[in-house]
Symmetry: C2
Subunit: 204 residues, 2 copies
């Protein structure tokens, strides 16, 4: 459509980013063309650098640029509670709440038969190994695992699978609460959330 | 916040793109990290290639990768009408309507005193030169200039300026019509658009 192969290629590559459709990709490509030449160099350097320097932490699979990630390295955090999340970006949401001071484990996805993602594609084996090592005294003993997975079908499937795998391992298994978000109007809450909020009501 | 300088740099560079805030930039950066290694290489190649190959057409200032752009090169297009647009991307909108078969001229912006953009920052001098060359028989004679600029303050200011500059040059000056968009419900049209639609009503 643009009849300029180099521009079309850039639009094509940009449109592979999440939330970027062909129209947005075109707008971004035109912006890049209009910007100063240094910008393309800086963006392209940033892409190379992130690839070269950032890798997953061998213990929790969060992203890091050193041997272990900052949460695994931090001596002040409790080894007794482990929070399991789907993506590294979820850790930041939990950290900024300030309500958790334990360790993390990133699965890098959730079980989704529809998308062909099975337990073997996630960091579930490594999670079970971490728990087993604690049980055999080869690592820190984990007393509670908090599942902070997305409140969707994939998250629920993964929770079901993990519950089965962790049964009988003498670890307390919990999941984060679902309910009415703080500050929101009850009028606008959907039925399922309201159902869950009533079901999991807390005694005052 | 991320505590990984390479990742922070990528987020910073991505957040300079239009419509990409810090949150979106972070999501894009995480996606890039999760994608296969080839993707960063391909995106970075595309950035370099677009810089190396794409430049503005010396006649109309549209983007091109050859000497003249495809609209200036096309022998079948009329030299008598010239459509003036703000950005190269506007050309595609006009082309896909199929209602124009003349030549283009890209101003690369609009006059905006608030943002410090004056007539000297745009391709206005080059537009006047094209018109003058036609008048002196040194180039194709332009009979009509259609101003297809944005329907905002900057567009209006630019139209006012161009009208003054082109006065007495024996060129018919028009602007694209403003009115109710096709297929839209009259209930949802704002007052100014409706005012313009009534003012510029067409006899049946």
């Amino acid at each position: 459509m643009l009849n300029i192969p180099a521009l079309e290629k850039l639009v094509h590559e940009l449109s592979r980013l999440p939330g970027v459709g062909p129209k947005t990709a075109q707008r971004l490509a035109y912006h890049i063309l209009q910007s100063r030449e240094e910008y393309t160099d800086r963006l392209s350097d940033a892409l190379h650098r992130v690839r070269a320097e950032v890798h997953t932490c061998p213990r929790c699979f969060n992203y890091t640029d050193s041997d272990l990630c900052r949460y695994c390295e931090d001596e002040k955090r409790s080894n007794e509670t482990l929070c399991v999340v789907e993506e590294p970006s979820d850790i930041m949401r939990i950290e900024s709440s300030g309500a958790f001071r334990g360790r993390y484990h990133v699965l890098h996805g959730a079980i989704s038969p529809l998308e062909g993602v099975g337990p073997q594609d996630l960091r579930i084996r490594e999670l079970l190994e971490r728990v087993d090592k604690g049980l055999h005294g080869e690592g820190p003993c984990i007393k509670e695992i908090i599942l902070a997975l997305d409140a969707d079908l994939e998250g629920d499937t993964t929770i079901l699978y993990l519950t089965k795998q962790l049964a009988g391992k003498n670890v307390k298994l919990t999941r984060i609460a679902h309910g009415v978000p703080i500050g929101s109007d009850i009028d606008f809450i959907d039925d399922r959330t309201m159902g869950r909020a009533l079901e999991n009501r807390v005694e005052l």
